[in-house]
């Protein structure tokens, strides 16, 4: 009887470990990729944009910047961000190191301050088609001038 309880406890203990090892990344992934995006209205386009200024190369990128690749990866500059006219868009703007700001002047968006390590969410409707400049509005670092790109709103078909 005692031995059975011991074995039972051992099984539960083992299962708890497996549960953590498998479960934690699954839960994190579910929360970030499914649950949070589901809180926006259906059909919203979510764009994650990150500003990074290390080693005097400033850039905005749509790629994921994390604690590991920040130090070595050559990120692709987000010269153009494409959306469709009529899209509901959420810009989730990240800063990977210092205080930046974000603005799309012709859409009267911003300037919003983006704190390092935090995310600013900006929603807007892509009402007009065309090419609209987005940029870091307030001086943030020596290569501040490089931090600009274009949002391309293409006609809906």
């Amino acid at each position: 009887m005692k031995k059975t309880i011991e074995i039972l406890i051992e099984f539960i203990a083992f299962f708890a470990l497996i549960f953590i090892f498998v479960g934690l990344p699954l839960v994190i992934n579910w929360y970030d990729s499914s649950y949070l995006p589901s809180r926006y209205p259906k059909g919203t386009k979510i764009i994650n944009l990150t500003a990074k200024v290390s080693q005097n190369s400033c850039l905005w990128t749509l790629e994921k910047v994390n604690s590991f690749n920040y130090w070595w990866k050559k990120f692709k500059f987000a010269e153009e961000i494409s959306v469709r006219e009529g899209d509901k868009v959420v810009f989730r703007v990240h800063s990977a190191d210092v205080l930046h700001s974000f603005a799309i002047p012709r859409f009267r968006i911003g300037p919003y301050e983006i704190s390092a390590g935090k995310v600013k969410e900006i929603t807007f409707d892509a009402r007009r088609e065309g090419s609209f400049k987005y940029l870091c509005w307030l001086w943030c670092s020596d290569c501040h001038g490089d931090l600009k790109g274009r949002v391309i709103v293409s006609p809906s078909d």
């Binding site: 200024v53 190191d97 210092v98 205080l99 704190s115 390092a116 390590g117 307030l138 001086w139 943030c140 670092s141 020596d142 501040h144």
Partner: protein
């Protein structure tokens, strides 16, 4: 002499030495006007340490060399935001508001004496949590007082052990 009374007098001795040292360190000076320009950079302020006397009228102009920094002065309800390449900066008083106002300088009277650190309050890079400087408002009573306490405690311990019978 009973042990408890001995210890009591020793503690009194320690405290007295501390207080005397503290008051001895007090310098009386006439209040002046002081001007400082503090430049923030990744990851220190320049000058790193500023010394004023109690009662001085202090004016501080802030500038940044590279990125946006903060300037949070302990004990004075001052928090500033400094942007590079910009002639003005922004100031708020944390106890009153979360919003910053654009200013050209910070003015205050150094009413409290002691050591106050100014720290960066806006994440400005990797070493941000360690970015700090020191404002000393003389007389920095605590410092000579604690020195006195150390000396008094050392003597008291040695005396107590000397009096102990093996």
């Amino acid at each position: 002499m009973s042990k408890k009374i001995l210890i009591f007098f020793l503690l009194l001795f320690v405290a007295t030495v501390g207080l005397i040292a503290g008051f001895w360190g007090v310098k009386k000076a006439k209040p002046q006007e002081r001007n400082f320009t503090i430049e923030a950079r990744q990851y220190a302020y320049s000058p790193e340490r500023i010394v004023v006397n109690r009662g001085d009228k202090v004016t501080i102009k802030l500038s940044s060399k590279d990125v946006t920094h903060g300037f949070y002065l302990e004990g004075h309800d001052i928090d500033a935001k400094i942007r590079a390449q910009y002639p003005h900066f922004w100031l708020r008083h944390p106890s009153q508001s979360d919003e910053y106002e654009q200013v050209d300088e910070i003015n205050f009277v150094a009413k409290k004496s002691g050591k106050f650190r100014y720290r960066c309050s806006i994440t400005c890079g990797t070493f941000h949590p360690f970015m700090q400087g020191e404002l000393i408002v003389e007389p920095n009573f605590l410092y000579p007082a604690s020195v006195g306490l150390v000396i008094g405690l050392s003597f008291a311990c040695l005396f107590y052990f000397y009096r102990k019978e093996t």
